[in-house]
């Protein structure tokens, strides 16, 4: 035992300690070298006066044009991003990391609170989340002098919104309709929300994990109005959901993944977003988007520059670039959502005449009248709604 101790203690001599120290130091150095992402240096957004080399853009999936035959959206495979690079030399690092408003907010909140750079120059939350961010003071104010196209071409419906009355924090990217995605080969075309509860569709229905979309639609199916939700109408919708889930009618509550369920025939009908169905229709024409007779939901996703963004000026350039009708039309033609840029409709007809009458991009007035936006309620009520719906998603009582 004694010999062991001697060996040991002599091992832990100066040289060992030095070597260990060097090793740890080298590892730390390597680690520091390779660090990407957040840094704590305070940025002065006003300082930038020329386009930067990169722009970090976080967006939802299926939300930008992608070249034919390519499966991922990268700067090199998107026409609109490519044109931006040609004009300004900026490579847009476009990442489809926005899967859920709450989850994404959770991932940037800590940095925003600590006044650190989130790593993103543009993010695209839905209006209700965008309003939250603006109200918390965590959105950079636009320098509108850099954005003449935005000022000129923003569709009138977005002027004077409660979330951004002077249009200096949010630039709408796309608007979307929430309705039904139906596989017309596997089931008859249902036209009502309550058609989802048809026993023939048992185990083949998928719902969204977005409260405003799923509960909104179910409320419409119950004859209630989601533009002014009350605890009563909300509870009724929750009861409907719980019943249908417990009985096995609903196969899965999916986030963005519902498209995969429709494509793989795991689901024959789902609560769906209009443009998504438009995109997957290209490969699976039997999938149809239907605005239910009782009504559908309507929402907008907005470009927002988070506070402390490193490339604010370039972000403004991109927003302004997008707000040119011919660029917006390129994106629109592919994603088939509703475009907030004035004049894009004319440009789209030039890209593809058939799109001019595409119901997804240009819903008729009759359809539009059936669309509702989730109403603003008190913070307590919304918290109650969130909690109740979250329990449903978590499978409580399923």
């Amino acid at each position: 035992m004694k010999k062991q101790q001697n060996l040991g203690e002599q091992m832990i001599n100066r040289r060992t300690l030095l070597k260990a120290g060097a090793l740890t130091g080298a590892a730390a150095f390597l680690a520091a070298c390779g660090t990407s992402g957040t840094s704590a240096e305070p940025t002065d957004p006003g300082a930038e006066t020329s386009p930067s080399a990169e722009l970090n853009f976080a967006n939802w999936t299926y939300y930008i044009d992608v070249d034919e035959g390519v499966d991922t959206a990268t700067a090199s495979t998107s026409e609109s991003l490519r044109r931006f690079k040609t004009k300004y030399g900026t490579t847009v690092k476009y990442q489809e990391v926005l899967l859920d408003n709450d989850e994404f907010f959770g991932s940037i909140k800590a940095q925003l609170e600590a006044s650190q750079d989130t790593g993103w120059d543009i993010v695209t939350p839905t209006t209700w989340m965008a309003k939250k961010i603006v109200d918390l003071g965590w959105a950079e104010e636009f320098n509108l002098a850099n954005m003449p196209n935005f000022v000129a071409n923003l569709a009138d419906e977005f002027k004077g919104r409660a979330a951004d009355p002077e249009n200096k924090y949010l630039a709408p990217w796309q608007s979307l309709m929430t309705g039904l995605g139906v596989n017309s080969k596997k089931t008859s075309l249902i036209s009502t929300v309550n058609g989802l509860w048809d026993p023939a569709l048992k185990g083949k229905v998928a719902l969204l994990t977005e409260l405003r979309d799923t509960v909104g639609l179910v409320m419409l199916g119950n004859g209630d109005d989601p533009s002014s939700p009350t605890r009563t109408s909300f509870d009724a919708a929750i009861t409907t959901l719980e019943t249908q889930i417990a009985s096995g009618q609903v196969r899965k509550l999916a986030g963005q993944g519902y498209t995969e369920l429709l494509i793989s025939n795991s689901a024959f009908a789902a609560i769906a977003w209009s443009g998504d169905v438009g995109i997957i229709q290209a490969d699976k024409p039997e999938l149809k988007f239907i605005v239910p007779d009782e009504g559908g939901m309507y929402a907008t996703d907005n470009m927002l520059i988070p506070k402390g963004a490193k490339h604010k000026y370039t972000a403004e350039l991109w927003i302004d670039f997008y707000y040119q009708p011919e660029i917006a039309a390129i994106v629109e033609a592919y994603v088939q959502y509703i475009c907030p840029v004035k004049g894009a409709d004319v440009e789209i007809a030039q890209i593809d005449p058939t799109l001019a009458t595409n119901e997804l991009i240009f819903p008729t007035a009759a359809t539009k009248s059936r669309l509702k936006v989730w109403g603003d309620v008190s913070a307590e009520d919304q918290a109650y709604f969130d909690e109740q719906f979250s329990a449903v998603v978590e499978g409580v009582g399923a």
Binding site: Q5, N6, G8, E9, Q10, I12, N13, R14, A20, T24, D100, D102, E103, G106, S107, K109, G203, I245, A246, G248, V250, R251, K252, L253, S264, N265, S266, A383, D386, S390, A391, V393, E394, G395, V396, G397, A398
Partner: protein
């Protein structure tokens, strides 16, 4: 370093120091922090405050998510049993019947785990889908009921969990089986025991330590799993892991999330301690790998 010569007892402490520091900082401290945050009340927007009165966070969380806890234990148990059924005969085969091919087979068993856990689980989604490349043809020829569904069911979740832990089950069992002195089995035969009798009275008892170790290594992670439930399950198959994940990342109700987490940890540590008592801690920590 004369100091070390005078105090030889310092040597082990210095060897331990870096690792100990790391574990204290990044295992112990976070869990203590989490325990503290489970006694918070408030929200992210309004700020949190600590109070021991908030022990109600625990009772609230437990009463709301009781079903998920129970289900997790059930699925974990079922997955462990399923895993055992798959692993034991294979381990037996490799230990007793494989001869030279033994190492190759062992390697084949472990090899799948050099691919991504997520991709393996998604691979099961591809295989078990309603119209999949495998089930589609089987349904077409009538071997499988066309209206049968395997994906997005508790069955898929349990099967997925079991699949992921087969190597953890096989390796300890194999080690135990391999150590069995073959002469014992020969002696049994000489004494007119049937092969089944020898199996029951010699092989199984001697393999028990490996079986226990493998079961523990499967059961513990299985309870806390959420990937399989998320990718392969339906709303009726959610486990406590899914709830915890959502509470932390989406809902951001840190007090509830922390309470749920802590209860899960206590549940598992209680099981592990009980198991350690039965078998002795030395056995436990050395048999683990």
């Amino acid at each position: 370093m004369g100091m070390l010569r005078r105090h030889p007892a310092l040597v082990p402490l210095m060897l331990l120091a870096p690792g100990l520091l790391w574990l204290v900082s990044f295992y112990l401290a976070p869990n203590i922090q989490m325990l503290a945050s489970s006694f918070w009340s408030g929200t992210l927007e309004t700020g949190f405050s600590f109070s021991l009165n908030n022990w109600t966070n625990y009772t609230d969380a437990l009463s709301k998510y009781q079903e998920q806890y129970v289900r997790s234990i059930q699925y974990g148990f079922a997955a462990t049993v399923l895993c055992f059924i798959i692993a034991f005969p294979l381990a037996y085969f490799i230990a007793f019947k494989a001869g030279r091919a033994r190492n190759v087979l062992l390697f084949l068993v472990v090899a799948p785990f050099f691919t991504s856990y997520l991709l393996r689980t998604i691979g099961w989604r591809t295989i078990l889908g309603d119209d999949s490349i495998i089930l589609g043809p089987l349904k077409a020829i009538g071997l499988v009921d066309p209206s049968a569904r395997f994906l997005d069911t508790p069955f898929a979740v349990i099967a997925g969990i079991a699949y992921n832990f087969v190597p953890f089950m096989i390796l300890p069992i194999y080690v135990s089986l391999e150590k069995i002195d073959r002469r014992l089995l020969e002696a049994a035969q000489d004494l007119y025991a049937s092969s089944w009798g020898a199996f029951r009275r010699i092989t199984i008892p001697l393999a028990l330590p490996g079986i226990f170790a493998g079961s523990l290594l499967t059961f513990i992670p299985a309870i806390g799993d959420f990937i399989n439930a998320e990718l392969l399950g339906n709303p009726g198959a959610t486990m406590i892991g899914n709830v915890i994940q959502r509470q932390f990342l989406v809902v951001r109700d840190y007090p509830t999330a922390a309470a749920l987490s802590f209860m899960l940890m206590v549940l598992i540590l209680a099981g592990v301690t009980l198991y350690g008592r039965i078998l002795g801690t030395d056995e436990l920590t050395s048999k683990a790998i």
